[in-house]
């Protein structure tokens, strides 16, 4: 409703109210005055006074009392006659007073409507601008309209859409980045496999021709096997398959993992906090286990002391947040350094010593979550530990959707 329509509505209200007032005033306002000062009432009072005078004559002992009552009646009679004399004026003033009060109410209401109209107009303009920005691809939209009405709801939806767009863009960028890394890994694995095979064959021939160099040959074979392992990890990263989601309950899956892998990392305690309610998800169980394995292995390494085995606790908590199923994996290790956080999910990014890891675990884990339509996030880190969150949509429609997402 624009300003003109509001003013017309207020005008119509004013006319309606004035008409109602006129009817009420003519039917209810003025008549009570006429009734109070009706000639019959005055005649009755006159009659009453005459009676009192006669009573005083016939009952002189109580004459003073009759006189007092006479004076009261006379006073009332005088007042009613004065009211009768001013009846029309009183009715008119009463109408004015009611009209004035009505006008004030209408003025206040009209002003309120106009102010509200202006405010809503401004809000609409902000919404329109935000929608335009959203259509233009802006993802950092903050409207700041927190009212609980339709426009506030629309503003929240626009902001949410903006955030979703931003997340999807980040996800797309990550997937593109990971795809590039996967392609590089595939090429590296392919390029390394041939010389590795040749080196193995040559080593076999050398061992047969020079059996006296057993120790050197074993050392060389050990190094070649390490290289072969790296090539296989490259290949595995390059061949990361599409998930095959199955229905399951995230809380139950977390408990199952904690029970199955309770002794997998000596000194590391796995604890699963039962979910409050069901958390149905569609997830590839093997891949979920792979992600949890990676995270727990990282926690085990982080909690390992120089003089002994790991000594820490990993807590798995499943819950629902913002319509998504969340599995939080939190350890009580030393946390993740600020410098590392920027490239934490990048492939080949590692804090381990050369030869101890290739830095593909978190990259693969995130890729798995992205392929599920979810996300892997580092939610908090401090001296008291680090926590990752696996965010999963409540369910995937079918396996093909997951395939498409992973393509």
């Amino acid at each position: 409703m624009n300003l003109r329509a509001t003013l017309l509505a207020v005008l119509a209200m004013a006319l309606g109210a004035a008409l109602t007032l006129a009817v009420v005033q003519s039917r209810l306002g003025a008549p009570w005055l006429s009734l109070a000062a009706h000639p019959e009432v005055l005649a009755q009072l006159d009659s009453s006074m005459a009676d009192l005078k006669r009573l005083a004559e016939t009952d002189p002992d109580n004459a003073a009392e009759y006189r007092r009552r006479f004076a009261e009646t006379e006073r009332l009679s005088r007042r009613l006659r004065i009211v009768a004399h001013n009846r029309e004026r009183l009715a008119r003033r009463q109408g004015w007073a009611l009209g004035g009060a009505l006008a004030l109410v209408l003025l206040a209401t009209g002003s309120g409507l106009v102010v509200r109209q202006h405010r809503d107009q401004a809000r609409l303009e902000r919404l329109s601008g935000a929608l335009g920005a959203l259509a233009a691809g802006d993802t950092g939209i903050e409207i700041g309209d927190r009212r609980r009405d339709e426009m506030g709801t629309i503003a929240a939806m626009i902001e949410r859409a903006s955030r979703t767009m931003a997340r999807d863009r980040r996800r797309l960028a990550s997937l593109e980045n990971l795809s590039a890394w996967q392609e590089a890994a595939r090429r590296q694995a392919h390029e390394l496999r041939t010389p590795l095979t040749t080196a193995r064959l040559l080593l076999d021939r050398l061992e047969r021709q020079a059996p006296g160099h057993t120790a050197d040959a074993a050392s060389m074979r050990h190094e070649l096997e390490r290289l072969a392992g790296s090539v296989e990890r490259f290949a595995a990263f390059a061949r990361l398959p599409a998930p095959r989601p199955e229905p399951g309950d995230l809380g139950e899956l977390a408990c199952e993992f904690a029970a199955t892998f309770a002794g997998a990392w000596p000194g590391l305690t796995l604890r699963a906090v039962p979910a409050v309610g069901p958390l149905p998800v569609a997830v590839d169980r093997g891949m979920l286990r792979q992600v949890l394995n990676n995270l727990c292995a990282n926690s085990a390494q982080a909690t390992t002391r120089a003089d002994g085995p790991p000594a820490g606790t990993v807590t798995l908590s499943a819950f629902r947040e913002g319509g998504r199923a969340v599995l939080e994996v939190a350890d009580d290790g030393p946390g993740i350094a600020a410098a590392v956080r920027r490239w934490l999910f990048e492939p080949y990014a590692t804090t381990r010593a050369p030869g101890e890891g290739m830095g593909l675990g978190l990259a693969i884990s995130r890729k798995i979550l992205l392929d599920h339509g979810g996300e892997l996030e580092l939610t908090r880190t401090s001296d008291a530990g680090a926590a990752f969150r696996l965010l999963l949509p409540p369910a995937l429609p079918d396996a093909r959707a997951a395939d498409d997402g992973g393509a």
Binding site: R78, I82, V83, Q94
Partner: protein, 228 residues
């Protein structure tokens, strides 16, 4: 001396009263039948020397016997042959005492002289009225030797100021929810009701109850020096 100083103030008060009365919607500009008031001139002083029997008219008489104080306001405007003008007035009040069935009358002239009387019957009241003598104006600036054109107006105001005040208070209390004779004192003591509403009702009552003349008569007369 004191009387001379008081006279202008009285004249002013009477004029104000007369102005209020003249604002009446139903004021009439008709003469009071075939008879006209009698005037006397003594030097600079113009006096009323008698009025036509207007109070015998049914519409006036029935009002006289309501118990309210009926006020008759006289307004006089005199012009001499040179066009100079002087204004003045007088007032007469009549209240019928319903218990004793007597008329209590009082008058005040432009010279400040007041008079109160108790009249036992309407006949006595009529006689008093016909011979009512009141100073209407003192005009030392006018030409005493020539004739004066006098415009005399008589207004009938149905109740007195104190009766008006009493009715206003009573109406205010009635509108506020009190008002019966038995509860008046309580209401007066409690001053009940929300203040803004009470204030609005007060304004409504005070501005609505007003003294307006019921009838008005006017005459154009000529006054000669030393005579009627």
């Amino acid at each position: 001396m004191r009387r001379a100083a008081r006279a202008p103030l009285l004249t002013l008060a009477l004029l104000v009263l007369g102005s209020a009365a003249s604002a009446a919607d139903d004021a009439q500009s008709a003469g009071g039948g075939s008879e006209a008031p009698a005037l006397e001139r003594r030097g600079a002083r113009l006096r009323l020397a008698g009025l036509p029997p207007l109070i015998a008219a049914e519409e006036v008489r029935e009002h006289l016997e309501t118990g309210l104080t009926t006020t008759f306001v006289l307004e006089a405007t005199a012009r001499d042959g040179n066009g100079r003008k002087a204004e003045g007035g007088a007032r007469a009040a009549v209240r019928y005492e319903l218990w004793d069935e007597v008329y209590l009358v009082s008058t005040i002239g432009a010279d400040g002289i007041t008079m109160r009387r108790r009249l036992e019957s309407f006949e006595q009241l009529l006689e008093w009225w016909r011979g009512l003598a009141l100073t209407l104006l003192e005009a030392p600036d006018l030409d005493h030797s020539g004739r004066w054109e006098v415009r005399l107006a008589l207004s009938l105001v149905p109740f007195s100021q104190s009766e008006q005040d009493d009715a206003q208070r009573w109406l205010t209390r009635s509108l506020e929810g009190g008002g019966s004779p038995a509860t008046e004192e309580l209401a007066e003591a409690a001053e009940g009701g929300p203040a803004p509403l009470r204030g609005l009702l007060d304004v409504l009552a005070v501005t609505s109850i007003a003294r307006r003349s019921l009838r008005r008569w006017e005459w154009r007369l000529t006054s000669a020096p030393g005579g009627r």
